[in-house]
């Protein structure tokens, strides 16, 4: 996933990676990383009620947009 990210960032488009494995993403060259829930469902959480899960996912996307609007100089990992 970091390889795709690197290629996209090379043309100047900031990309935020949402993944449950932020250490691997950072090691492989991703610059903006949001810590996802789990490998099998990075942007959702089956443990929550459907309404709660949607609120959580919205928060996750808001965090991702916020990180895209934040200057970073090194691999940066944000929790939701």
């Amino acid at each position: 996933m970091a390889t795709l990210t690197t290629a996209i960032e090379r043309v100047g488009i900031p990309a935020v990676v949402v993944t449950a494995l932020p250490t691997i993403a950072a090691m492989a060259g991703a610059n903006r990383i949001v810590h996802g829930v789990a490998v099998a469902h990075p942007t959702g959480d089956p443990e929550r009620s459907p309404a709660d899960e949607l609120i959580f996912r919205r928060r996750l996307v808001e965090r991702a947009l916020e990180l895209l609007a934040t200057p970073v100089s090194a691999p940066t990992v944000w929790e939701v």
Partner: protein, 340 residues
């Protein structure tokens, strides 16, 4: 010599991706590939097991338990894998091996040179290069066993090309009988012949972070994923691993990924939770909500998707360049990429 062997859930016979969240376990004797090490004369005393997802998602907890067992077992050497081209398994192997080696327990892993477990081993543990697939088992085990035996015995370990492990980024001065000019010409001839074995590999290129967007409300955002998300029935036959292509699907008029309309064909994780609600892989429903509220400018009309599972780095890089080109032409200003 007391040998401890580390395996993931699959190679320990505990189940496939459905068992990837398995917490660490300790088993007596050799299991699976450990029996193959035994055939090479390396008797495994204890096998440690951990699910790949458990390790990735609870690294501190997994390491604490596995390292405690390594200490209890008074291991002379730790063998991890082989994990071939499997990224999560390789990462667990490389990380555990590094931590063990830094505590004074020599460790050897086996994996493909492009596996993210190689940098995770960080030059502290030895990595024996293997093929990308499990068919490389028979070739890998004797080489891993040979190096592990030497390490366990405390025998001196020679240079990477002599012993068959990947360079660890260390330098060791040796006296060569040949004068510098002769060595330089020999090396040039070897390079021209393509037989250089001692050349340090280039580090993966780091792209500096592009400047941030100024305001999400003014940007066109694209969704990209390597989670294997496709329309139901997989009409374009995206591979479940080693994908040969990326695919583009229209998002115009799609407000959420409805269950039964989209699915994941990824072969590297248990897809049940994702298929019950595919927005758990790509957050389309939440993105649409923010778009309708004016918090996000506009969602780009195309989803770019592929399967990131045992994909060689060169292939992923090619996909990335092609997708980036499309995004650039469409004047996309920001990307959310979900990875599994």
């Amino acid at each position: 010599m007391r040998v401890v062997h580390y395996l993931n859930q699959f190679f320990a016979g505990r189940g496939a991706e459905g068992a990837a969240s398995l917490a660490p376990e300790r088993m007596a004797g050799a299991v699976g590939p450990g029996r193959g090490l035994g055939l090479e004369g390396l008797e495994v005393a204890v096998t440690l097991v951990c699910g790949d997802d458990f390790f990735g998602e609870h690294e501190t907890e997994a390491l604490r338990q596995l390292l405690a067992w390594l200490d209890e077992e008074a291991a002379d050497v730790l063998v991890c894998g082989p994990s071939f081209g499997s990224g999560r398994y390789g990462y667990a192997c490389g990380t555990l091996a590094r931590e063990a080696a830094q505590r004074g327990i020599p460790a050897v892993c086996g994996m493909h040179p492009e596996n993210p477990g190689v940098p995770a081993a960080a030059g502290a543990a030895y990595v024996v290069p293997t093929g990308e697939r499990v068919t490389g088992m028979r070739d890998a085990l004797p080489r891993m066993a040979g190096l592990a035996r030497k390490l366990g015995e405390g025998a001196p370990i020679g240079a990477p090309d002599a012993e068959g492990y990947l360079p660890r980024g260390l330098r060791h001065n040796v006296l060569d009988e040949r004068p510098a000019a002769v060595r330089a010409v020999d090396l040039l001839l070897a390079k021209l012949a393509g037989t250089v074995t001692s050349e340090a590999a280039a580090r993966p290129e780091r792209v500096p972070p592009p400047p941030p967007i100024t305001d999400p409300a003014g940007v066109t955002l694209a969704l990209v994923t390597e989670s294997g998300l496709v329309p139901i029935g997989n009409p374009d036959r995206l591979e479940s691993n080693r994908a040969r292509a990326w695919l583009a699907y229209p998002l115009r008029g799609v407000t959420a990924f409805a269950p039964g309309a989209y699915e994941s064909v990824h072969g590297g994780f248990d897809v049940r939770a994702a298929n019950a609600d595919p927005n758990r892989l790509v957050p389309l429903d939440a993105v649409r909500t923010l778009e309708s509220e004016g918090r996000l400018g506009e969602l780009h009309e195309t989803l770019y998707t592929t399967t990131g599972n045992s994909t060689p780095v060169a292939t992923a890089a090619k996909f990335g360049v092609e997708i980036a080109q499309r995004l650039h032409e469409a004047a996309v200003q920001a990307v959310i990429l979900s990875g599994t």
